[in-house]
């Protein structure tokens, strides 16, 4: 079905943990070098003391009130095993900092600039490493094939994985949806590839998470790349009208389409 099955079924054993991540990445890299696609690796996080220090200052000023000094948690959850991806995701989508721990994190304009975010990520990562439980790293999402004429198995693989694992909540077009209890599923169409990849690994609640045993780095990268591509490609059919499918289409057809024709009828016919 997918390009992967052309290789025949392979059974991989995966274990959680940083070593496994690197190991998996190496295996995946080896395989993908074969097929000619680019590998999916995690971005290195700064370990420089200056960055960590700057991050600590920012953290203490904006985050510690809920997440506790040193990330041990208080009103908010502890951050000792979340990993760089989580921190980067929540900060770069503006979900954090949160005004009150009772609020639901919502996508927002980011409070910090990218350099500040990187610093905070460095600080939390240092805490995680010290604690011995670093969580998912920030995936380096490789762009899909730029050559227009050649085949692009990555994009296709991302499409299939997205439709099977993500579309039921986020809509096949990525426009978003609804969960129970009023949790709104956000649109993915403004997200960066990195943010999508981070969310898949992190599983910002109420979203489930997808570990390396469920989706490999290469698969996560493919999904992120596919959705980014989809959101930034002009809709071939014209105006996308919210990309939500039959609902906006029905509105346009009935109210606009018939409405214009009723107006035409009024101009052609009699009013009295």
């Amino acid at each position: 079905m997918t390009a992967a099955t052309d290789q025949g079924k392979r059974r991989r054993r995966t274990l959680l943990g940083p070593g496994a991540l690197v190991g998996a990445a190496m295996v995946v890299f080896a395989v993908l070098v074969w097929t000619g696609s680019a590998p999916a690796q995690t971005k290195p996080v700064s370990t420089g003391p200056v960055d960590i220090q700057a991050g600590q200052i920012l953290y203490n000023g904006h985050c510690a009130s809920c997440h506790g000094i040193g990330g041990v948690g208080s009103k908010g959850p502890e951050l000792l095993n979340v990993g760089p991806a989580a921190v980067d995701f929540f900060l770069s989508t503006g979900r954090m900092p949160l005004a009150s721990p009772n609020l639901e994190p919502q996508p927002h304009t980011p409070y910090f600039n990218p350099a500040q975010i990187a610093d905070i990520v460095a600080y939390i990562n240092a805490l995680d490493v010290e604690h011995g439980t670093p969580g998912p790293g920030i995936l380096e999402v490789t762009p899909a094939c730029t050559n227009e004429t050649s085949d692009c198995p990555t994009l296709s693989e991302g499409d299939q994985l997205f439709l099977l694992n993500c579309a039921q909540c986020h809509d096949a077009s990525g426009a978003g949806g609804m969960l129970s209890h009023g949790y709104v599923v956000p649109s993915l169409r403004q997200a960066t590839e990195t943010q999508i990849a981070e969310a898949i690994r992190v599983g910002p609640r109420p979203m489930p998470n997808f570990g390396p045993g469920q989706l490999t780095n290469q698969q996560v990268s493919a999904i992120a790349d596919y959705m980014y591509n989809l959101s930034h490609t002009r809709d071939p059919g014209g105006l996308g009208i919210a990309n939500f499918g039959p609902v906006p289409e029905g509105f346009v057809g009935v109210i606009f389409g018939l409405g214009v024709l009723l107006l035409v009828a009024r101009l052609i016919g009699n009013r009295g």
Partner: protein, 352 residues
């Protein structure tokens, strides 16, 4: 008051009441036939209904040749736009086609064609506001009597002897032959048999992803889910299942299903049929905060920790649970098929 014999005036006193409501409450009943709808002879419409000497050749600009010619030029200009758009369409097509240009040019072409036509009809062509008689769309009384004669010529003969041939012979024969003629329609499909009672899950079937990779018991993270199929039957329509890791959360299973879950360390692995028990869509929206599975089609919501029972929406039966085991190499396998039919209900569906 009108001496119209057709109208049975139910009002107590002369004219009917003032408001429409009251009038509605005291309806007039039309009791007559068609015959005296019109004039005394019942055939011709009222002469007064059709004004005499209507001018059938009149149009608004008939008496103003200068304006008429100007209107002609305006119409010609609109139709010129149509022609230009036509050429544009040919060019767009020739250079490979582009949906938005095609749409815009078609819109403009048709709209200007239509505008020209409307102006033409409205200002330069006759036939406005003519009054004519509706005439009679029903037949004369003589014809209505005559047709009964023609019809009964046949029906009397056909139904002679109390309709022996028709009622006692032809109808049963027709029924029998009709059934015989329609019988082949059954070949359109297969009989359901026990197709609705089983999926492709078999004892010992490994849970595999759509890629064909078997799932190890540690593969799914806590608060994670994955779509799986029985090994060898990937993408089978009735066999799709979601496997979830609920961690240490206690699950309240139905009687006899408590051991369907696989507990391994911090992992609590459960698997449910992905086919909604309401109308068959794939259920896999996972709300981690409320531990619910939701179907996107009609918003049926299933409480995972309570045997995947429906708690909201039109579904009325829980998602069937797949009994799981771990094999010697640590891979997740099914102990057997689901113990009840998956998917929507049907007449013979026994069990819960």
């Amino acid at each position: 008051m009108a001496e119209n014999p057709m109208v049975e005036d139910r009002t107590a006193e002369g004219p009917v009441a003032e408001t429409g409501t009251a009038a509605e409450q005291l309806p007039r009943v039309f009791t007559g036939t068609h015959d005296n709808l019109d004039g005394a002879d019942g055939h011709t419409p009222w002469p007064d209904d059709v004004p005499a000497g209507q001018d059938d050749t009149w149009y608004p600009l008939r008496d103003d040749p200068w304006k008429a010619r100007r209107m002609e030029y305006i119409i010609a200009a609109f139709w010129g736009i149509t022609a230009v758009c036509g050429i544009g369409l040919m060019i767009v097509y020739w250079t490979g086609g582009q949906a938005q240009y095609e749409g815009a040019l078609l819109l403009l072409a048709f709209a200007s064609l239509g505008t020209g036509l409307v102006l033409w009809a409205r200002y330069l062509l006759p036939g406005h506001d003519i009054t004519a008689s509706r005439g009679h769309h029903v037949s004369d009384p003589e014809e209505r009597a005559a047709i009964v004669e023609s019809l009964s010529r046949g029906t009397e003969a056909i139904l002679s002897r109390r309709g022996f041939l028709v009622k006692k012979v032809l109808v049963p024969v027709g029924g029998i032959f009709g059934i015989a003629a329609l019988w082949p329609l059954a070949s359109l499909g297969t009989r359901p048999g026990d197709a609705l009672y089983h999926t492709k899950w078999y004892p010992g079937a490994r849970l595999v992803t759509e890629d064909g990779n078997a799932l190890h018991v540690d593969d799914v993270m806590v608060d994670g889910l994955l779509t799986v199929f029985p090994e060898g039957y990937i993408d089978d329509a009735s066999s799709g299942a979601v496997v979830l890791n609920i961690g240490g959360a206690p699950i309240q299973a139905r009687r006899g299903q408590a051991d369907f879950e696989v507990v391994s360390g911090a992992n609590g692995i459960v698997a449910f049929s992905k086919i909604c028990t309401h109308a068959g869509c794939a259920v896999s929206l996972f709300n981690v905060l409320t531990m619910q599975l939701i179907c996107p089609c009609h918003q049926s919501t299933f409480n995972i920790l309570q045997d995947c029972s429906p708690v909201f929406g039109p579904a009325s039966r829980p998602l069937p649970q797949l009994p799981l085991l771990v094999d010697a190499e640590g891979y997740l396998i099914a102990r057997s098929d689901f113990i009840e039919p998956v998917g929507p209900g049907f007449w013979n569906r026994s069990g819960d």
